[in-house]
Amino acid sequence: MLGVPRDQRTESAECLIREGDVVIVYERHDRMKQATVCKGKEFQNRFGVFPYCDWIGKPFGSRVVGKKGIGFVYLLKPTPELWTLVLSHRTQILYVADISFVVGFLEIGPGKVVLESGTGSGSLTTSLARSIAPLGHVYSFDFHELRAEAAREDFKRNGLGSLVTVAVRDIQGQGFPEDLVGRADAVFLDLPQPWLVIPHLGRYLEGNVPLCSFSPCIEQVQRTCEALTSNHFTDIRTFEVLLRSYDVRTQTFGSLSMTGVKEEIAAENLSQVRKLSGQKRGRDGLKQTEPLVMQGHVLTTEEVTNGKECIPALSSSSDIGLSKNPENTGVERNSSERIVARPYPETRGHTGFLTFARQGSNLN
């Protein structure tokens, strides 16, 4: 069950994988899939074939090896954050940066009642459910019947069925249902035209209840804020949240010599390195390797771990700082190896704006 760990635990055992559990299959940092454990069936990926019956009884967090010892994967326990990364995209979804900010800013905690529209792929809903558990409830609305049904199934499969109600309804056209008046502790909108709903929200938001609206475009935000202002909302604030991810690896850097090295030698070595490393990459096509960066060479973790470092041998000991193969030179090759970090080039940028507001508490 997503995010509600303890119920599952018995006194003696760790959290063990059971028939019917949803498991996040971790292949690599950028490659995860979801699977439902089902005896007699197998999980297949490009690394191997994994019979589910091998998984049953193992603790989450285990590493399992495929048939005939080929391939391995890690089996992780689902969390809303992992779920967001593996769910099937039926719509655009919110990601962890926006999701965490929404939950934090709306101060959603156990026992709260949250109204949401649209449900979309349920990425946000899953986190809302974690936060309101075990006593609260999320009422989520989407006017798209198939999406609502698919989301409902996902919630059920993840053990959130009792915490979330998904209903089909045109919220922009009809507003939230009458029987929810006065029951919400927070309202979240991810709709194309939130300004159509805002005028009708008053009664749902009585008692300083906060509202959040997500929109990708600034023009939508503009109209939303105008609607909020003219409907006497206060504390209107708009944010953009991003998360920049960093790639961490080791790299050796050359250092420029001031003494004792003939320039010819240096030049010679350099061309040698380029040639050899070119060959190496050809040989190791599948492996994640990096091109030479000036005189340095990038080591991936795999290379370091496997101890089969593939920096070409250099017979002369120049001190322009090229990586040296320990076997040939006896020089500590790690001497100039550094752990470095830089942002991934493909980091997701802007997803949208989050606008928050409250209906002011009135004097009575």
Partner: protein, 592 residues
């Protein structure tokens, strides 16, 4: 369903009204200044150059707005209506941040405006007469506008600005907010970010998500942000689950920020503290029993062997601290724990002698700051039969962190009321003494709600206090439970610690597949940590990320990002722990 929701309603109601003893956050002029206070009929708050009683706040809903009325009875707070407020509040952020406003959408401009104060025909003296006669701040602002020759010629925006400026000066607006993780974080971040380790509210929210903090979690924290992270987790769990704020034996944490929250008794009672070595011991005895010790000793976890072969002084359990020894002997600790305790105490004594060294290795391998006041050490080992952990009388001498401590006389001022920014809350001594009696510890905020719900509150207070106190020492049973199951999440906010050393000690305390997240002001230590965790296959799903937040002013034709954007948010390393026993042989070995 209906039962559920009726409970929800009543709970919400409890949190929305200021009651006697509530912790409150006063937001003055929309983020200009923030002041924490405790709402007592007898406490006073200083606003500019006047002091007002907080009594009028009691019984009002959070979110209520007040201004100072200065009539003949003396200055006091009066509630003002929301409607008056609305006009100015929505476009206030520019002023808050002192940004000079562009005016791109107007046919009027300021070319003829002369700012020499001659435009105002109302004199200072006249204003003071008005005030003496009991005119409200709003009245004065209205009079100022009426008597301003230039007002009508200003652009709408400048008019708005003029009004706000005068209002701030003559009628400061005070919004009573309920101190929550978010509002406290924002208040500190705006005014004194160093006190919460530059943790921005989006980063806090991210930590709670990445660590999968939700009902029934067992959350482990290394919180060196004054207890702020611990409190935020407490708020998010709302009493469902357990929270353990751990620390090195020689560094007693200040969890003072717990006192700023209005926790329910249920929430307070779910927050514990425990020294790290105890947790490690409880955990490693389990894994030994399961026959995993070979793996864990192999570098994943710090085991007993590890613990015993440290920098501890060679001397046996003698002379140094006989008092502690007897006390420890009477406690529930087993033999090896006692040894550790006493050794730790000896170490600390040694440390306090060698105050010159700024960092040394403690018995469990953390660098330990030695600039702490000697009394702190004595506090940390007053172990009596109940293993009462006296975190609340800790004087955090090292930092200027407000400790909000409630038991130490000389801290009483800060203890009852913490001020961020320039505003001070004055409290009279006799009230404080009364308060100290009432709230012997952090748990007092838990009792607030009890006052609210229980009729015979006063007597209940004392009997329940101990079992409810947030941040109290975890019992041996509790520690054993965590040892057996492992924690389900880990959050680390320790800006002065090396993340890798933290991971090496603490990841084995987690149940496999548990999420962890480390917040750090610097990227490099996290990058190195990530590299090693990956290399040693201690964790997967590793991600090093930098949160980024930008607020926007959205107004017709004047939408733009706020100019003052924080660039110091720090970094987060997150991941999932692995099942160390099953990354097992032969595969494990082959790969290394």
């Amino acid at each position: 369903m209906s039962e559920n929701s009726s409970e929800t309603r009543s709970k919400r109601h409890m949190g929305t009204i200021v009651i006697e003893g509530s912790s409150i956050l006063l937001d003055i002029n929309h983020g200009d200044r923030f002041t924490f206070a405790r709402a007592h009929t007898s406490s006073m708050v200083k606003l500019g150059n006047v002091k007002c009683s907080l009594a009028p706040l009691i019984g009002c809903p959070f979110g209520s707005i007040f201004e100072v009325s200065k009539d003949p009875k003396g200055p006091h707070l009066v509630q003002v209506s929301q409607d008056k407020e609305i006009q100015s509040s929505n476009c206030n952020k520019t002023e808050v941040h002192g940004v000079e406003e562009l005016d791109i959408c107007s046919d009027r401009d300021n070319r003829d405006l002369i700012d020499d104060n001659t435009a105002q025909s109302l004199s200072e003296l006249e204003i003071s007469y008005m005030r003496r006669d009991g005119a409200s701040g709003t009245k004065i602002v209205e009079a100022l506008i009426a008597n301003s020759a230039s007002f009508q010629n200003k652009t709408t925006l400048s008019q708005e600005k003029y009004k706000r400026k005068k209002q701030k000066k003559h009628a400061p607006r005070i919004v009573v907010r309920c101190p929550s993780a978010r509002s406290i974080c924002e208040a500190y971040f705006t005014k004194e970010p160093s006190k919460i380790g530059y943790l921005r509210m989006d980063v806090l929210a991210l930590l709670l998500s990445l660590a999968n903090v939700g009902a029934n979690a067992d959350v482990l924290l290394l919180d060196e942000l004054g207890g702020f992270l611990t409190a935020a987790v407490g708020e998010r769990l709302g009493g469902f689950g357990t929270i353990c704020s751990t620390y090195c034996a020689s560094k007693v944490p200040s969890l003072g920020m717990l006192g700023l929250f209005n926790f329910t008794p249920c929430t307070s009672s779910s927050i514990f503290c425990a020294p790290l070595f105890e947790l490690i011991q409880a955990r490693s005895s389990i894994s030994t029993a399961e026959g995993n010790h070979e793996v864990s000793a192999k570098g994943h976890s710090s085991t007993e062997a590890d613990l015993h072969s440290t920098v501890l002084p060679e001397s046996p359990l003698t002379a140094l601290l006989p008092e502690q020894q007897t006390k420890i002997a009477g406690s529930l600790l087993d033999e090896s724990e006692k040894i550790l305790l006493v050794k730790g105490a000896q170490l600390e004594t040694r440390m306090s002698k060698s105050l010159k060294a700024s960092l040394i290795d403690s018995s469990i391998g953390f660098p330990v700051r030695v600039e702490m006041a000697a009394q702190e050490f004595s506090c940390s080992y007053q172990l009596n039969g109940e293993i009462e952990f006296p975190n609340q009388c800790t004087v955090d001498a090292k930092s200027q962190l407000q400790t909000f401590s409630l038991e130490t006389d000389n801290l009483v001022g800060e203890g009852s009321i913490a001020t961020v920014g320039q505003l001070d809350v004055d409290s009279q001594t006799h009230q404080l003494q009364g308060e100290i009696k009432n709230r012997t510890n952090c748990g007092f905020k838990g009792t607030d709600d009890m006052v609210h719900t229980a009729t015979n509150a006063e007597s209940k207070h004392d009997s329940q206090d101990k079992s409810l106190r947030a941040g109290r020492r975890a019992s041996a049973n509790q520690v054993a439970y965590w040892g057996r199951h492992g924690f389900s999440s880990l959050i680390v906010g320790a800006p002065e610690m090396d993340p890798l050393s933290v991971c090496k000690r603490m990841l084995p305390l987690l149940s496999p597949s548990a999420p962890f997240v480390i917040y750090h002001p610097y990227m490099q230590p996290l990058a190195e940590c990530m590299h090693h965790l990956r290399k040693e296959r201690m964790a997967v799903n590793l991600q090093l990320s930098e949160p980024w937040l930008r607020e926007y002013q959205v107004l017709p034709s004047q939408t733009h990002p706020h100019m003052q954007m924080s660039s110091t948010a720090g970094f987060c390393l997150s991941g999932k722990s692995l099942n160390f026993s099953s990354t097992c042989f032969p595969y494990h070995e082959r790969e290394l």
